[in-house]
Symmetry: C2
Subunit: 237 residues, 2 copies
């Protein structure tokens, strides 16, 4: 590519990167709003989150189309293609974070008016707020191409799984002691599962940042490989 072509390609790549940041910040806001709505039983806010998910989906389709047009126009080399493919992969992870925020919002509506269990909700919110912090950090790491920051968040995903596991046990015990709360606790269980999944997507985004900066996939580390895909899982009895 000539110098001029390289500069123009960089403009398109920068625009793509800007769209990903826009999409990620929107998903971050949606998730924060969904958690606020759940905490305050704010049905109107939950409905707003559900209605806005379509914006995230539209941004994802826009990113995909922009990536295709940039590749067709500039015919970049493999190293730049890797960045674009990693960007596409990130866009799928962010779209899912949006869906999971929407799912928490839908459960907020289902739970409205139900008697709550303060302690379980407090522990849920603690875990959820930590995932929100991780999401904010990974977005910043992407913006600054900060591989150290991204890897720190990647390693911290196990903390989320541990919190999730403790919360699952607590909710099972609440249900056994007070069977009236079974439906309520089940919804909170699913919200916790959604948040744990958000943590997994944050972790995937960190891996994509590694791939963009280093030009190769993150090597599998034994400690993470052993727990990959497991998530929190209490025993049956």
């Amino acid at each position: 590519m000539s110098d001029h072509t390289i500069r123009s390609f960089d403009v398109d790549l920068g625009a793509l990167s800007g769209k990903i940041l826009e999409m990620a910040r929107l998903a971050q806001k949606q998730l924060a709003d969904a958690l606020d709505a759940l905490e305050k039983s704010d049905v109107a806010l939950a409905e707003q989150v559900i209605a806005s998910d379509e914006m995230i989906d539209a941004l994802q389709r826009d990113i995909e189309e922009k990536a295709i047009v940039a590749i067709a126009r500039w015919q970049p080399m493999a190293v730049d293609l890797r960045e674009i493919v990693a960007t596409l992969r990130m866009s799928y992870d962010i779209e899912r974070i949006g869906d999971l925020g929407e799912s928490v919002a839908r459960r907020t509506i289902a739970l409205a008016g139900a008697p709550r269990i303060g302690k379980a909700m407090q522990h849920f919110q603690g875990m959820a707020r930590l995932v929100l912090v991780h999401l904010a950090c990974v977005i910043e790491s992407y913006e600054c191409r900060d591989i150290t920051g991204a890897m720190e968040i990647w390693r911290k995903d196990e903390e989320i799984d541990t919190l999730g596991n403790a919360l699952f046990r607590e909710l099972l015990s609440d249900m056994s002691e007070t069977p009236d709360t079974i439906a309520y606790c089940t919804h909170v269980l699913f919200c916790a599962k959604s948040i744990e999944r958000v943590g997994d997507h944050v972790s995937n985004i960190a891996e994509s940042i590694y791939y963009i900066v280093e030009g190769r996939p993150l090597p599998k580390l034994p400690s993470r490989a052993a727990s990959a895909g497991r998530g929190a899982l209490p025993p049956a009895a």
Copy 2:
């Protein structure tokens, strides 16, 4: 592109398509094995499913790399790029189906030895086997580029959500009536959620087939748009 180049590009595209089919059939086998393991409390088979998930992940990375090399080598036009991007998108959906099969296998191990509730497990298996049929159909639709078959499966995802909803209510009621079964039922609830998510990924694959054949995204239909991302969701009380 010259005739010769076009033919060589088609060879690479065909190889990519073959890899996707290999990956999809492996995920299908893994899910079927996971369901068998759950039905028969076969811990050894469940462990085999968990160990094999890495093969699906490796195929996904291979597909991504092959796609990048094919694009860099042949510099295809936008229409062919769309097919490659849709193929990548499908590979992410198939990878998740593999993860969800693994998740069912992990719960099989957690549940081993726990007393079972025959009826709930029977209803779960009915729903799960239907999703397996949908998965088989969508793989065949991809192989034959059969848009009609793909759209039929896409429309049928609502049936899975309806079955999921009925099963969720049944499990909540089982838990209320027999609190001893709470831990067991919770695991089955999560297995049902995993299967419902497999249905969503099958639906996404059908959308990607539409995109490959028609060269444009599937238009949003009002009936599906209203239920998108919701899944089964019993009320709180």
